[in-house]
Amino acid sequence: MPRRTMIEAIRDAMDVMMSRDDDVVVFGEDVGYFGGVFRASQGLQAKYGTNRCFDTPISELGIVGIAVGMAAYGLKPCVEIQFADYMYPAYDQIVSEAARLRYRSNGQFTCPLVVRMPTGGGIFGGQTHSQSPEALFTHVCGIKTVVPSNPRDAKGLLISAIEDPDPVIFLEPKRLYNGPFDGHHDRPVTPWSKHDLGEVDDGHFAIPLGSAAIRRPGKAVTILAYGTMVHVAETAATETGVDAEIIDLRTLLPLDLDTIESSVKKTGRCVIVHEATLTSGFGAELCALVQTRCFYHLEAPIARVAGWDTPYPHAQEWDYFPGPARIGRALIETLEA
């Protein structure tokens, strides 16, 4: 099976969908001729022409705004916001327009639209290139939110997102673009070519939205994670020797609550990990759902390990990042509770 980086897998997903469906169009800042600052759309303009893949003015509001109009016409735009940190000017178009168009028009107009955005830190991007705003999307009715953790999922989930009849926010952990990040920034990066999940089928395949994956089976504690933190959690489990079951959520909304519930009922313990800031983060929602569903099976308080409630710093990036040591401590505390 061919091996791909996450960027190659994402590009391949768009390529596959553009070749299968003339209504798929791709655009954003630097996306056309140059192929995007992370090169996700490299070669697509040359292959499909400027009608299908083009550069836009620097206006996130404009990018999502025209995409809503195009989707209402019947196209399937798959647009890029250069960094998730830049999406705020587009937020009204996402929340008040894309998300509600089907509902408010009683299905006369729909919005099959994908907004891709690189998310998360770990590249010394400072406060404007590192944020994880997923909770700002999961709180909105009418959009789906996806966070892949590896090339195979990225391709299969992006194909599902483009095929979905409703708007999908597709958050790409940029620290994973070139390899699975184990949380140790001072060690060499393992390339995806040496990882099983770097094996990505050619052609069309879809991974349904709303299904989680168990990345590491275990009996002692359930770790709920997504994106970069799936790999960091694996490091923490290995280094502490804790028999943790790691669930990669893949889609935050719709959420695969059944997989979460059966795991926590089995282990009786739960640690939730995300890179986004703690307060009102998606972990809070997970925590509430787990205690409602699994209260009588819980043997310890649910723990959350997350980014501190500060802006994402530059020099202190690795003090901020919830690395293997912090996750490891939470695992041990949860087991000892």
Partner: protein, 429 residues
């Protein structure tokens, strides 16, 4: 003992005004309307050229060559009720009679619905008094398949497009026949079939969407065009400016309308316009041909709309149109204009009433009379009243006949996800 941070903050000098011998103190400019309640209405600052005076350029004209059109007003009907000048002649007598009927219907419908709101049959209403020509005339320049992205004051697009008055009232009453199942505030209509995009209620968001829809039509080598609508106040939103950038960059087949009715709720148009002279002038920096039209002149609105739509359809790109008009009524059923402008201001409005002006023109043409006008008014009132009665037979907002609570959970997504199914179950519906 204050927190350490507060102590540090306290040590930062607070902007003491610096006096300088060289510069006078700076002053903030906040624009004010010429007159406030109690004063005498004054529109002397609005320069209105005589009807027929403004040239009609070729549709492939360079925007640079017609910069003056962004500062003038295109008018066709003169004071004697005659259609004059190069923009006249786009409509036949029978089309004009139909247009008069559309405007009268909109006005009668507004009056009934305004009353219905006062009677508690719905929560809210917004009327068009004084602005009927803008949407009614523009609609007649469009072809089937074209798409409007309207605001809440363009119901003339629906009436002139043949949409059912009963369905309009059903939507306003949020009753069992409401095409939008009670999900939207009254007057936030949607009808794909009639080229009327779902009204958001958030201002300006639709403007950039219209540009995207038009771009999609061009991407698919279609022949349909999009039409964007916005009020004078909402042009201050970023969405408006983004729309002009994108329309200009991609030469989108879109007509960009600004309805300048002088008032954004209580705020006079000078607050949004700033120092730019006119709203139309906003288009010039983007290289978009920009025209101003007498929005109370049915013939002028139609002629300018036709010119702009033809440009879009011939792949010549976007056109910006400022419709100069006046909002005679309140913004909505939730405000009283007496609190922010002179009570008699609407009577002083120099462009007159669009219904009366078209009526007089048709009388001058010899195809209409005061008598037939009165008769038609009565007929229209009958039609509107019976549509209203039919809608009321399907329920009004606070009656028992309304969309079910179960409907509330439908249509958030194409397929209902598990968490919504659980919530619907919990709600017991």
């Amino acid at each position: 003992m204050p927190e350490p941070n507060l102590m540090r903050d306290a040590m930062i000098p607070r902007g003491e005004a610096v006096q300088s011998a060289e510069h006078a103190p700076l002053k903030l400019h906040v624009p004010e309307p010429a007159v406030r309640p109690g004063g005498t209405p004054d529109f002397s600052n609005i320069r209105i050229p005589r009807a027929g005076q403004v040239d009609r350029p070729e549709i492939d004209v360079d925007s640079e060559a017609i910069r003056d059109l962004a500062f003038s007003v295109i008018r066709v009907l003169n004071r004697e009720g005659k259609a004059v000048g190069p923009w006249a002649g786009t409509l036949s007598d029978s089309e004009l009679l139909e247009g008069l009927r559309h405007m009268m219907t909109l006005r009668a419908f507004d009056a009934r619905m305004q009353m219905a709101q006062r009677q508690g049959k719905t929560s809210f209403y917004m009327q068009h008094m004084g602005e009927e020509a803008v949407s009614c005339a523009f609609r007649k320049a469009l072809l089937p398949g074209d798409m409007n992205f309207p605001t809440y004051r363009q119901a003339g697009l629906l009436i002139a497009g043949g949409y059912s008055l009963v369905d309009m009232a059903n939507q306003i009453y949020s009753n069992t026949h409401d095409p939008l199942k009670g999900r939207q505030l009254p007057v936030m209509y949607s009808s794909r079939q009639h080229g009327f995009f779902s009204i958001s209620g958030n201002l300006a968001t639709q403007y950039i969407q219209a540009v995207g829809w038009a771009m999609a039509s061009a991407i698919k080598n279609d022949t349909k065009i999009a039409v964007a609508w916005i009020g004078d106040g909402a042009t201050a939103e970023s969405d408006f400016h983004a729309a002009l950038v994108f329309a200009s960059t991609y030469r989108a087949p879109v007509v960009l309308n600004i309805v300048n009715n002088q008032w954004a709720i209580s705020t006079f148009q000078g607050i949004a316009r700033g120092g730019s002279g006119t709203f139309a002038a906003r288009g010039l920096g983007f290289g978009i041909p920009a025209l101003r039209v007498d929005g109370n002149d049915y013939l002028a609105v139609h002629a300018v709309a036709k010119w702009a739509c033809e440009r879009a359809r011939r792949n010549l790109g976007p056109t910006l149109i400022e419709h100069v008009t006046y909002r005679v009524g309140a913004h909505s059923t939730s405000d009283d204009p007496a609190g922010y402008r002179p009570k008699t201001e609407s009577e002083a409005w120099p462009l007159g009433d669009p219904v009366i002006r078209l009526k007089n023109h048709l009388i001058v043409r010899g195809v209409w009379s005061e008598e037939r006008h009165k008769q038609t008014e009565a007929e229209i009132l009958d039609t509107v009243t019976s549509a209203q009665k039919e809608a009321e037979s399907y329920g009004t907002l606070h009656s028992e006949q309304r969309p079910s609570a179960r409907d509330m959970f439908e249509g958030v997504f194409a397929a209902m996800p598990p968490h919504l199914r659980r919530q619907r179950q919990e709600a017991g519906v």
